[in-house]
């Protein structure tokens, strides 16, 4: 291959990868280098696997929410729906239901919550910010009522932690689940009618409607997909902790939204990428993990997270203007 064709090849590759994705990937690599420089424990394979496992909740849920946000909608209920699903699984397992069925129960509860969001946002036409905020409070309330506000930890079966701690080829189950959800979502986003319709709805809802797309039905489907995925996320989370915790996941919805926005999805819709969200989630988790190893208090981490979010969006806006 001569220089010219190599050049053309490179051009083709860089053209296909959006600038936003290149930049955040650069930031992620930079962070990895900086933290491994400061802390020798950071770069160990155990710690990296740990980061991946911690990111898996955000990434799993984020995959589904990205497609929704591309369509110009938002979901604030994912944190409390995950908690409700986890609690449901723990309670079912406690009462002697076989574990696979308990997991299915968690997913079922997630689907119900997704159905509620779909009903409120698509059918009753309540703005998604308000509608899903309502679902968020309702689900948190139900989780607390079901458990009387206490953590479910007694009489859980011995295999309860299997889903969260089991391994295949030395890699924990949650990471396998996360990888499969990422692959399915990328295919959905890039290759399927669902992915295309979400761009069309987010980019120009009126044109989408006049082109015969049933916008209400599509948005309902997006919420249902989120519901199912969040239900599974809650189950995995509960299994990793080994308990059913009704108070878990406060602020989880914002971690998901931060990862998605870092990944180049706009709040207005029409644009976005699942892969970008994955990188965004990793950035958030790497910062948290690295600063923990360095002994920085979580209070400061919160400030940093906020600053990074605003800086990323600012950068994106500036680039768009040019």
């Amino acid at each position: 291959m001569n220089v010219k064709t190599v050049d053309a090849c490179m051009q083709k590759i860089t053209k296909k990868i959006p600038a936003q994705l290149l930049i955040i990937t650069g930031i992620l690599v930079l962070l990895l280098i900086i933290f491994s420089f400061f802390s020798s424990r950071f770069i160990s394979s155990r710690n990296l696997l740990n980061i991946l496992r911690q990111s898996s909740f955000i990434i799993m849920t984020g995959c589904a929410v990205t497609i929704l946000m591309i369509s110009g909608n938002i979901d604030l209920s994912v944190g409390s729906v995950a908690a409700l699903s986890g609690v449901t699984m723990a309670l079912l397992a406690q009462s002697g239901v076989p574990l696979p069925i308990a997991v299915m129960g968690a997913v079922g509860i997630g689907l119900l919550a997704g159905g509620l969001n779909a009903l409120v946002v698509s059918i009753f036409e309540i703005p998604p910010f308000i509608g899903t905020l309502g679902t968020m409070f309702i689900c948190r309330g139900i989780a607390l009522i079901l458990t009387d506000g206490f953590t479910v930890r007694d009489n859980l079966p011995s295999n309860y932690k299997l889903l969260g701690h089991g391994e295949l080829f030395g890699i924990p189950f949650p990471i396998w689940i996360m990888l499969s959800i990422i692959i399915i979502s990328v295919v959905l986003q890039k290759k399927s009618v669902i992915g295309k319709y979400s761009i069309a709805i987010g980019g120009n809802k009126l044109a989408a409607e006049l082109s015969g797309i049933n916008v209400k039905k599509m948005v309902s489907i997006f919420y249902l997909i989120i519901g199912g995925v969040v239900g599974l996320t809650g189950a995995v989370q509960s299994s990793i902790l080994g308990v059913g915790e009704p108070n878990i996941g406060n602020g989880f919805e914002f971690d998901v939204i931060i990862a998605i926005i870092l990944g180049g999805t706009t709040l207005d819709g029409g644009e976005g990428s699942v892969i970008g969200m994955v990188i965004g989630a990793l950035i958030v988790m790497v910062i948290g993990n690295g600063l923990n190893l360095l002994g920085v208090l979580t209070f400061y981490q919160s400030i940093l997270k906020g600053a990074i979010l605003v800086a990323a969006v600012l950068l994106d806006q500036r680039m768009r203007k040019q």
């Binding site: 295919v187 295309k196 987010g202 980019g203 009126l206 044109a207 989408a208 082109s211 015969g212 049933n214």
Partner: protein, 518 residues
């Protein structure tokens, strides 16, 4: 003081692919009501936008009060003494009349709004026009005409010398029109010049002093109203009051002749229509805009709806396509009554619509040409929800060459295409849904002559294949060149049905769609 308040000298304006204004020159005399008329697309709104500072001209000079006038934005134009009364009124319903009038010019003391003697002046101006409006009224309680008065008051209070009124009578009642005209006649005494745009020609003769006729981006003629046949003015020497008598029919027809120019109809060839095969039939359709619309569309026929903006053309298309609700009446498809609630139901009945606004209703600019073309019929390129990209590429390449869409390839974004090519993408999208009934709302608005002819040829080809089309247009040559029958529409009502191919009096047609008697 100069006699002319505005001098327009050889101004031109180009949009990508379209020349909207060509060497327009005319003068506007101080303290007159100067009307601008022309068909849709004649260049009126472009001219207004340039005067209002909303858009920049490509070349030419404008002088305001003898000083070169180059507004950078609407704010700048307003400060120079040029105010615009847009159709979409610029008032905030939730505030009071006074809060609206002082909006953006509040006098502050310690950060609080200070009441000033300014209030008295506002009250005085307001009172001179409409005695029923009080400063503390909520604007949401006022009628459209009263809101216009608020805007006019604001313009006078900020010392505007020129007020541009863009179809101010489009949304108000007969009684309110009379009041508005009284206000306009009074503005002359306040040293204000009015530029008046309207489709209703009789209004021009009622309040205008001068009229400028525009056609295809050119200034055709500027003439004093009194120079029209049928217009005479008498000055009562005792009181000094000017009395104007107008023979509306004669005067309007003269004006219409100037607006239309030579209508060239050479491209229509009459064809046999089988009147036993009714494809679509509307019976007494009424809704918020339409009044008892009934017609039959035959198989393979191209039917035209001609009327001005706001005559209800789009509403008919939207009612058939399931976008707008119908309060009364029945739609029959191939002899069977149908009740379509949404576009996806219409598409499944092989009805397809090219919407009026391609940018906001037709295209999804986040998607590229290829993805737009297949958007309406995904099942043609996908199975079980997974898109077959190579099939999609093949299909879109096919349409790109068939409709001669000028682009690099199907991966190009649609946002930067010229108007004509964007419209062809929308056409391809609709054609890909395989319609047997094709609704086209302003199919060639804002596209250049070449693309217009190509779009018309596509519609003619479809008719040969037995597709029934309805063309909704506010351009008379378009319907005359394309359609077998033409229905004239005015204010949501069918006024007349014409069979094409006979010699029609175009002036009479325009007379009917501007509200004249049949």
């Amino acid at each position: 003081m100069e006699e002319n308040i505005i001098t327009i000298n050889n101004i031109g304006k180009e949009y990508p692919g379209v020349q909207a204004l060509k060497d327009v020159s005319f003068d506007i005399k101080r303290n007159t009501v100067h009307c601008i008329v022309g068909e849709n697309g004649a260049g009126k709104s472009t001219l207004i936008k340039i005067l209002a500072g909303a858009q920049q001209r490509s070349r030419g000079e404008i002088e305001l009060n003898g000083i070169p006038y180059n507004p950078k934005n609407t704010r700048h134009a307003m400060n120079s003494g040029m105010s615009v009364l847009f159709q979409e009124l610029n008032v905030i319903d939730q505030l009071t009349v006074e809060e609206n009038l002082t909006l953006g010019m509040e006098k502050l003391r310690f950060g609080f709004i200070r009441k000033t003697e300014h209030q008295d002046r506002l009250q005085e101006i307001l009172f001179s026009m409409d005695k029923t409006i009080k400063l503390n009224h909520k604007v949401s309680d006022l009628s459209v005409a009263q809101k216009q008065v608020i805007e006019i008051t604001k313009a006078i209070a900020t010392d505007s010398k020129v007020i541009i009124m863009d179809e101010p009578t489009a949304a108000i009642t007969e009684g309110e029109i009379a009041k508005l005209f009284a206000v306009i006649k009074d503005l002359r005494k306040q040293d204000v010049t009015v530029i008046y745009i309207s489709h209703r020609l009789n209004e021009i003769f009622e309040i205008g002093d001068y009229v400028t006729v525009m056609r295809d981006g050119c200034m055709i003629e500027t003439r004093a109203i009194t120079e029209f046949d049928g217009c005479t003015e008498k000055i009562d020497t005792g009181t000094g009051v000017v009395e104007r008598t107008v023979n509306e029919e004669t005067a309007c027809k003269a004006l219409i002749r100037m607006m239309l120019g030579e209508v060239v109809v050479t491209r229509y060839t009459p064809k046999e229509i089988d009147k036993t095969k009714v494809a679509l039939s509307l019976k007494n359709i009424s809704n918020h805009k339409l009044k008892n619309i009934s017609f039959d569309l035959y198989k393979g026929e191209t039917l035209g709806f001609y009327g001005l903006v706001g005559s209800g053309k789009s509403e008919i298309a939207r009612a058939i396509y399931g976008v707008d609700d119908i309060s009364n009446g029945e739609i029959m498809l191939n002899g069977k009554p149908i009740n379509l609630k949404s576009p996806d139901k219409a598409i499944s009945e092989s009805i397809s619509m090219v919407p009026e606004e391609r940018r906001t209703e037709g295209l999804c600019t986040m998607l590229n040409i290829r993805e737009n073309i297949t958007l309406m019929n995904m099942s043609s390129v996908s199975s079980r929800g997974v898109i077959n990209k190579s099939k999609e590429r093949e299909l879109s390449t096919d349409y790109i060459s068939k409709l001669q869409i000028a682009c690099r390839d199907g991966n190009q974004k649609t946002a930067l295409l010229s108007g004509g090519n964007q419209q062809k993408v929308v056409l391809a999208k609709c054609l890909n849904s395989n319609p047997s009934i094709f609704l086209l709302d302003e199919p060639s608005r804002g596209v250049d002559v070449g693309a217009k002819e190509e779009i018309h040829n596509i519609i003619r080809e479809l008719a040969k294949k037995g597709v029934s089309s309805i063309v909704f247009s506010s351009e008379l040559p378009e319907v005359m060149n394309l359609c077998d029958r033409i229905i004239l529409l005015y204010e949501g009502e069918i006024r007349e049905v014409l069979v094409n191919g006979q010699n029609h009096d175009f002036e009479n047609i325009l007379h009917i769609v501007t509200g004249g008697s049949v």
